[in-house]
Symmetry: C2
Subunit: 205 residues, 2 copies
Amino acid sequence: MASFPKPPTLNDDRRAVDIYRRAAVILRERGFDATSMGDIADAVDLTKGGLYYYIKGKQALLFAIMCFALEQVENQVLKPALEVDDAETRVARWVEGHTILMLDDPAPMMVLYNELEALKPEHRLRVDERLNVSTNTLRDAIEVLVAERSTLDVDIATGAIRTLVEGVANWSGGVRADHDAIVRQVTRMAMDALLGHTEAARAVA
Amino acid sequence: MASFPKPPTLNDDRRAVDIYRRAAVILRERGFDATSMGDIADAVDLTKGGLYYYIKGKQALLFAIMCFALEQVENQVLKPALEVDDAETRVARWVEGHTILMLDDPAPMMVLYNELEALKPEHRLRVDERLNVSTNTLRDAIEVLVAERSTLDVDIATGAIRTLVEGVANWSGGVRADHDAIVRQVTRMAMDALLGHTEAARAVA
DNA sequence: TGGTTTCGTCCGACCATTTGGTAGGTCACC
DNA sequence: GGTGACCTACCAAATGGTCGGACGAAACCA
């Protein structure tokens, strides 16, 4: 597990990381603006005053959680995807890695995707920049994949795959299947969506 | 276009509907909790006091917008889908109708899907109930479709199709293609995801 | 060893601002 | 002169954030 950005002065930051993690959970559940610092303090068993010993402010907390999520994306999605050159397996790895992430640690990921507009403009730019690297990696791979084996529009295909994967955490809770099965089937659906050609699918097109 | 629920007393409700529509736009952009009644009043060219002539409260406004969105779903997604018996065309119609809705009038739809937890419990139950009708319609059709022509888990497939469609409004803005092309291609991708069988897709499964 | 200073951790009380919502009045028009 | 449509001024509550200090354990010193 990667670490959260360090609070001001703290040699042993286990408590800080724990605070960030627990804050991510409650922020994911209630949403950033609907969650008060008092709520967060309760969730981490502190008073508001005590919480501010670890946190510089509400914005900084949100930004830190998002940076943590971005780190995970870069390490567990982008890196494995870029290790292969074949466009098809690269897309598959991107989808697979992302789905695993959404299932294993959904809270920071959902905060990242759902609370972007709650960021102050400066932070927003930084986060968007790193998010675009991930999106563009997917887009580029889909572009070569689609150019030779499909008639899909690249932007449409990219958007669809992105939201397909980002939505996993919204419904995975109500599913009996285990994580492995979800990852396999989501990945298969994504690849079929990009490359599949059934007569039925053609009929509606 | 269906009408918004009527405000207290109002014989000519064009202004009221306009207020609901404009409020939906700004609520979609900034999120419910991040939008103050003052912001909404500005967006509809009123003062806060004037706004309350039409609106009973912030919660009531949110609930009204969601009811409007639900009406649209029932009329433009559920009704066409239930007109056919064949499971495959029923799923296709559900996806198609939903995608059209997300493109034609995204604001109330996004408010409906993104602000559920901002509802007071009583309203929440009512909305969830109507949403479940839509989801179950999709799920039941996918169930028979998948039982005979795929090995997908019904819940996984349903969740994936739902979030695929719900996410359209998030990326459709940055796409050059026109709405018709988006609808056709999203529908095709959805059906391919459910029924497609490419060798590549099997390889990752 | 016993006292005292230091330091990291955390609390309670407080503050300025913003929030959703209300009350009373104004003004045009029938 | 009554009524619908709207505004100004205001309120109580909640919010993000601050500050001085309390408490305990370690470090230091005798």
